[in-house]
């Protein structure tokens, strides 16, 4: 076939180019949805509670992911600094992923539980009061701004459509009980989203809750990061099988 056949007919050119462009994406993306081993089988990972979900949204809104990664790589120095390398399973409910690509600040994939809530609030409000040469902006307004959660059910329903198992009816609830246990399943019920949210805020603030702020949500989100998988339950070779 001569190249003339392609370049003298705009339509031939358009169709052929589109085909050639598509191949790479098809081969590299489609199998990720089909191969079961892509996401590790591991206990503990669950969808975010309503409060954590809104916290993740604030994390995205403020562009935190631009300076903080959430992806610990399987390298010795990262093991020492941050902990066990990140599993694909740990971000399986993140729509979208927040792995990041730049560490102007440290990785946050396992920041959960490392610092107290009070430390986080102080650090987010005025980073340089704790880390003198930090390059992070002061997020002064988060602890004063009331959390918008009146449409939380709509958020959860949108995520259900994207494949996250929040439960709308008894059947879905029972499924969640089987998957995550009763405690977690109760926190994933859409109709109970608001009371769950308020209860979690009250729990984190030792009962001193006035009205939930954006800071409450953000800190609740940070405190869950990387804490869901109990790595003691799995021997060293287990996760390597999925790579």
């Amino acid at each position: 076939m001569k190249h003339e056949w392609i370049e003298t007919h705009t339509s031939h050119f358009l169709i052929l180019t589109l085909l050639v462009i598509s191949i790479g994406g098809l081969v590299e993306i489609v199998p990720l949805f089909l191969i079961k081993n892509t996401v590790e089988t591991v206990a503990g990972v669950r969808p975010y509670t309503p409060l954590e979900l809104l916290g993740s949204n604030i994390y995205q809104r403020e562009g935190c992911y631009l300076c903080h990664s959430q992806m610990i790589r399987p390298l010795q120095e990262e093991w020492l600094r941050y902990g066990h390398y990140s599993l694909a399973a740990e971000s399986q409910f993140d729509h979208p992923f927040l792995w990041g690509a730049r560490r102007i600040g440290p990785d946050l994939a396992r920041v959960g539980g490392k610092y107290s809530n009070t430390w986080h609030i102080q650090h987010i409000t005025a980073p340089r009061s704790l880390v003198s040469r930090s390059r992070m902006p002061n997020y002064l307004w988060l602890k004063d701004r009331p959390l918008q959660y009146s449409d939380i059910e709509a958020h959860l329903r949108a995520l259900v459509r994207a494949g996250v198992p929040y439960s709308e009816n008894q059947e879905q609830y029972d499924k969640n009980v089987a998957l995550f246990g009763k405690d977690v399943a109760n926190r994933l019920v859409i109709s109970r989203a608001r009371e769950n949210l308020l209860a979690q805020v009250a729990g984190n603030a030792d009962g001193n809750v006035v009205s939930p702020t954006e800071m409450d949500a953000l800190v609740a989100y940070l405190q869950i990061l990387g804490t869901l998988v109990d790595f003691k339950k799995y021997d060293e070779g287990y996760f390597a099988r999925f790579r």
């Binding site: 370049e7 003298t8 705009t10 050119f13 180019t17 589109l18 050639v20 462009i21 191949i23 790479g24 994406g25 081969v27 590299e28 993306i29 990720l32 191969i35 892509t38 995205q60 403020e62 562009g63 631009l66 300076c67 990664s69 992806m71 790589r73 390298l75 010795q76 120095e77 020492l80 600094r81 990140s86 694909a88 399973a89 740990e90 971000s91 399986q92 729509h95 979208p96 992923f97 927040l98 792995w99 690509a101 730049r102 102007i104 990785d107 980073p127 340089r128 880390v131 040469r133 390059r135 992070m136 902006p137 002061n138 449409d151 958020h155 949108a158 995520l159 994207a162 494949g163 790579r243």
Partner: protein, 497 residues
């Protein structure tokens, strides 16, 4: 006797054969967005040095402003220049006027509205949290419609041509058009929370979402920053040097291998992550192969100048093209190097990546853009450049500042990365995170200096072009007045324009 001036006047008062008005509009907007992108970039660099510059205002924090910088640079600057160049090249190579009267204007105003609304929504905190795809779904709807209008205008113009072969530059523009359409739609599949609200959730999660994102992110660069600008290279470089393209056969190899291979290199951005090894290995393999088409392009461009290298001494505009091609070659080699697992373990998540990106965007894309703009403006306003010496000054300032800025970033990245992995004799980490960060102080100042100089160069260009256009318009007005006076003496009236 019909004076030649009168003939020229009559020709000038005919409706333009080509639709240059739209090209002029996009060229001006490319300059406006380009300078804005640089200003925001310098401000961001300063924020990292002096965090007080965040001013405790949500819209000015680094996290909100960084997407504004990339939006202005990629969609504002590169996007507008792509429209300008492709509309110009399509008309010149097909020797036909741009198709449609209303639709080209729709693409102009639609695109400008998209960039402006995109920036405003990012400042307000509306984001999909995915690089180069931050725009929430209502803006996605707008941009897809504008892009379809663009596709129609562009291909309809190509269909009007009388010469059957399609000139090489148009292949690259077409690939960019198709590639971006495909990428953008798949990347932005989302579930809106409320049809009356902005917020949405990505259809994909975790590892699949990561792969779709970097398939998009990598290929926005492939199509919008490589394909589109290679299209410009294939038209404007031979025109500027006044010689035919070196090899038609090489351009076929260049085009098809680049279109095919580039797409596969996306998983490089996810080296050492939770993406399965097979996908990463494919990505690395294909990025090694990418050296071939890239250098086919570099060779094809540089060899076109062969035999006319002496023009570099007198024509500083040509220097921009040559420097751009050399940066293109360099960026490809560096990109391949960074995709290797051992190197990537060091470079990933550091300023090395940012340096690499600026070698590409300032060295390759901007140098090419400046060459194209210096070539276009005198032709669009039918005049000569005000000052060639200012072009030469701009060239040297730009060249120096790109290297300063990008090299400072790469040194910053490598230096910090080496500290991050330093362990003592017992295998413990030597530096805390903030101690590795201390390495960045000097490189960050140099980066800011490099960026500022690059802006100064661009402002020299803007000054030169503004004077060029103003003088052209004054001269034209004076000529018209003189002719009108002469015709009036003879009792004639000038034709209505």
């Amino acid at each position: 006797m019909v004076p030649t001036e009168a003939l020229a006047y009559r020709a000038a008062s005919q409706p333009e054969r080509y639709n240059y008005a739209i090209v002029r509009g996009f060229t001006v907007m490319a300059l406006v967005w380009g300078v804005s992108a640089m200003v925001v970039g310098i401000y961001l660099a300063a924020e990292l040095i002096w965090p007080i510059l965040n001013l405790d205002l949500p819209g000015l924090t680094f996290g909100r402003l960084r997407p504004v910088h990339t939006t202005l640079a990629i969609f504002g600057f590169c996007g507008s220049l792509l429209f300008a160049a492709s509309y110009y090249v399509a008309q010149r190579t097909c020797q036909e006027r741009l198709a449609g009267t209303l639709l080209p204007l729709v693409t102009f105003w639609g695109w400008q509205a998209f960039v402006l609304l995109g920036v405003v929504s990012e400042l307000l905190g509306y984001t999909q949290a995915r690089k180069y795809a931050e725009f929430e779904w209502p803006l996605d709807v707008l941009v897809v419609m504008v892009w379809l209008a663009y596709l129609w205008v562009y291909t309809a113009t190509l269909y009007r041509r009388s010469q059957p072969p399609l000139y090489v530059a148009n292949w690259f523009f077409l690939a960019c058009l198709l590639g971006m359409a495909l990428l953008y739609v798949l990347e932005n599949l989302v579930v809106p929370v409320d049809v009356l609200g902005m917020k949405s959730y990505s259809e994909f999660a975790g590892v699949q979402s990561a792969m779709v994102q970097w398939w998009y992110g990598h290929n926005v660069i492939t199509f919008l920053l490589n394909m589109a600008f290679l299209g410009m290279m294939y038209y404007f470089l031979p025109k500027q040097v006044g010689r035919p393209l070196y090899s038609y056969r090489l351009s076929i190899i260049h085009f098809w291998s680049l279109v095919f291979l580039s797409v596969w290199a996306a998983p490089n951005h996810l080296n050492w992550t939770a993406l399965p090894d097979w996908t990463v290995t494919l990505g690395v393999t294909f990025s090694v192969m990418l050296v071939l088409p890239s250098f086919a392009g570099v060779i094809n461009g540089l060899m076109t100048i062969s035999g006319a290298w002496h023009t570099l001494r007198t024509d500083p505009v040509l220097r921009f093209f040559v420097a751009a091609l050399l940066f293109y070659g360099w960026v490809t080699l560096e990109g391949v190097t960074m995709s290797f697992q051992t190197i990537n373990a060091l470079s990933h998540c550091t300023d090395w990546t940012v340096g690499h990106a600026h070698f590409a965007t300032l060295g390759w894309v901007s140098m090419m853009s400046f060459g194209v703009i210096y070539h276009l403006v005198p032709r669009l306003w039918d005049t000569k450049l005000y000052s060639v010496r200012l072009v030469a000054l701009h060239f040297w300032v730009a060249l120096f500042s790109v290297v300063l800025l990008a090299a400072a970033l790469e040194i910053a990245g490598i230096g910090q990365a080496l500290r991050l992995r330093t362990t003592d004799e017992y295998g413990n980490l030597v530096y805390s995170f903030m101690e590795t960060d201390a390495f960045l102080t000097v490189p960050y100042l140099l980066r800011g200096l490099g960026g500022s100089l690059f802006l100064v160069g661009a402002l020299v260009m803007v000054y030169n072009l503004v004077i060029t256009v103003v003088r052209a318009q004054r001269k034209r007005a004076a000529t018209e007045a003189r002719i009108a006076a002469k015709l009036a003496v003879k009792g004639l009236r000038p034709r209505e324009g």
